[in-house]
Symmetry: C3
Subunit: 319 residues, 3 copies
């Protein structure tokens, strides 16, 4: 594996999940694979779970890890070509990426969208340039439009906890106070659509009018604006807020209650509840669910390690 | 050891000091104990000595270390239950702690008091919740009311440098420009009171009127408002500023000079002078003392490694 | 080696370059040399290449690395003696350096000049005090007046890529939007002057009037204010901006074009072009050069590892 950016980078969904679960049962089985190899984690935006779980995964494989926090103020990168750099950007991504590639065998990159210019965000310009210029394999630690390590984690978690062969999985929009990116729901959707194609799940998306995701990510999904209809018979409910794709980056007032709570849980098939975290309690998801037996959120976060580890393992094997 | 938060977590003061000194003479004797174990150090407030010494201690034991700097602006934690999280806190401590527990075998946490609401600070709500929710052993890297790694260091240092069986140890208040927490003096006091009970030291606290510490930490200590009386015959003088506990977080003008200097040193039994650092030169403690033969401050800082290492060793043995 | 601060700390320029190239061909040959040794990297100013390359070098030698980012706001150090510390500085360099020396076997320090007070910057007060007080070997990660790891890297890179026995090397001033320190050009100049003395290169400096470097660094160099004259017959062009030393820290308007581009490259002997990075594209150096076959900037950045590694290796051998 040379790149882990979208579901298209994984040929065998079932195989990668099984390999991740095998690493979970023997975390140190490949601790010599990463000896004298260096993983560089580049964060243009802050991270908690992603940084820790990827660092842990790399250490389990015996790798060295170097973390670079390059917030936009401290080390602003120029991404456009042909610009006279007489402004506030201090380094061009051509040099920054190539230099980091000199020091690292594998690089991870996190870069959030601006949520102002949809075209700019959805072309994934920065990410693609980073991949082109750094010259080493790149793991996405969340880009403008996708968060594939999270989605692989989610598929691992669903596989571990499913009680039926082909569970009904529902991505349910939930309220928030901020305008959040579509990266997590886009990515979850593209992974679940592919899992559905392979007969692994049945996938539904429920969201209020105006919160339609980009169709590139939702092909094959059943989509409804009726939360109750979506939840009916669900085995897994994946709760997540996102801002509008259509009216890009905007947030609409939503009349109906879309917070996931125990009353709504009753409409499901005693569903397990998932969330990528951080979660706003009693706004997105009720405390009673988070603290109750149906919540998988902590185990899901724990599985971030095995998603990262299987990706790094495959990259190391291919260096 | 499952928790290192106060002196109550150490059954055998003498034993733990001897074990620390033994690690000091053989730092790498237990380097296999921490193999494939991960220490997570969570800082809600900045740290220099504590982070470096604990990281060094963990590496001496062969552990991996991950550091998380979560300042209050960047990743504000909600600690109250039943709050609708529609404000500025981005994650509840229930999730944050539990997730970090998924990635780490032992966690360290630093969290300073607000110094506004004594009740809130002294209940150690955040710390206790972190311990409850993370599910792994927790080392305090300084909490609202205590700094036990510092106090253990101090007892190690006194043990190493004492010239008499039962030295007179004086905690002497000193001036500062800022309102500082009571964590270091509280903790030093509770460790010295216990050491006094066990016949290891004789303990006196000297401070101006209005700077009385919480009595929970000072039981058995001799307390005086007369610095000269306190210093008389002292073998060790532990210099430290703190703000008022009674009129919580306030700073009073102090008429008399409370800065420790050579003139005052003459009143002692040629005392060794200690300070947890950072120290304000010529405000808390004179340069002549800091640069002279009676200062232990650098050796004391060096001993932070062995305090952390003995605590981590005991936790690792008990995992 | 106890200190790596200027070219004077290296007795044998040729030997150190050859040793670095030998490490480049066998990066892990000395991986046991640093076992249980700790490198502390202290940054009073931000760093990308220097931190990553030095960390990588240390890991190649089997060392543990601890990074301390102490920006001026967060942990302001007092450097003057005899000051009552009742202001904004929180710790004196005497204590800060000594404490870090307790935890580390080797320390690296980065500290930029203020560019306000030439006398203060050029005495290298902070750096010299840090060296005096920390008690362990110190590597400069760039000081107020020098950047020796960069200059050693540059000599390694020139040695690798030279086509003639004694290439003509030109340090060519270039425009920028900010007032930059003289550390890189000072250091490059003192290394090239020494290399010239040893018959390794022929060295010329080209800069506009008013940008004369301090003569301590340029003894033996040919100096011209005519860029075309300087570039004539050059085998290597080292492009770099700096602010005025004479009118300290100031920036003058420069009438003539001093940006390095393909037209100017034609005046050279098909010169290789170098830059320490980060580079402002199309302001200091044209994109056509940076993206073309004459640029060495990425390989040069890559060589930072071997410069750091040979220095650390010599220090470890001498502990």
């Amino acid at each position: 594996m040379k790149k882990f950016f979208s579901v298209a980078d994984v040929a065998d969904l079932h195989g990668v999940v099984q390999e991740a679960l095998s690493l979970k049962s023997s975390p140190h089985a490949f601790e010599h694979l990463g000896k004298n190899k260096t993983l560089g984690l580049v964060f243009l935006n802050p991270s908690l779970r992603t940084r820790l779980s990827t660092q842990k995964a790399a250490m389990n494989l015996g790798m060295n890890v170097m973390v670079m926090n390059m917030d936009k103020d401290g080390w602003a990168l120029e991404t456009q070509d042909g610009v006279v750099m007489d402004g506030t950007t201090v380094e061009h991504i051509r040099e920054a990426a190539a230099v980091m590639g000199e020091y690292c065998d594998i690089l991870g990159l996190r870069s959030f969208p601006g949520l102002k210019d949809r075209e700019a965000d959805y072309t994934e310009d920065l990410f693609n340039k980073f991949i082109s210029y750094c010259g080493v394999p790149v793991v996405s630690l969340e880009s403008a439009t996708r968060h594939p390590l999270q989605s692989l984690t989610d598929l691992i978690t669903i596989t571990e906890h499913k009680a039926v062969e082909k569970p009904k999985v529902v991505l349910a929009w939930a309220p928030h106070v901020k305008a959040l990116p579509q990266a997590v729901p886009n990515s979850f959707s593209e992974w679940m659509c592919k899992a559905q194609e392979q007969g692994l799940v049945e996938f539904t998306i429920a969201h209020p009018m105006g919160y339609e995701l980009c169709e590139d990510f939702t092909k094959g999904a059943k989509i409804t604006n009726d939360l109750e209809e979506g939840l009916s018979g669900a085995d897994f409910v994946y709760v997540k807020n996102w801002s509008s794709y259509v009216d890009y980056g905007q947030v609409y007032p939503v009349a109906q209650s879309w917070m996931m709570d125990n009353r709504k849980l009753q409409m499901t098939n005693n569903a397990k509840v998932m969330h990528c975290l951080p979660v706003r309690r009693d706004l997105e998801l009720s405390s009673e669910i988070l603290d109750g037996p149906n919540s998988l959120v902590i185990k899901e976060a724990g599985n971030r390690v095995w998603a990262a580890q299987v990706v790094l393992k495959r990259m190391l094997e291919n260096l």
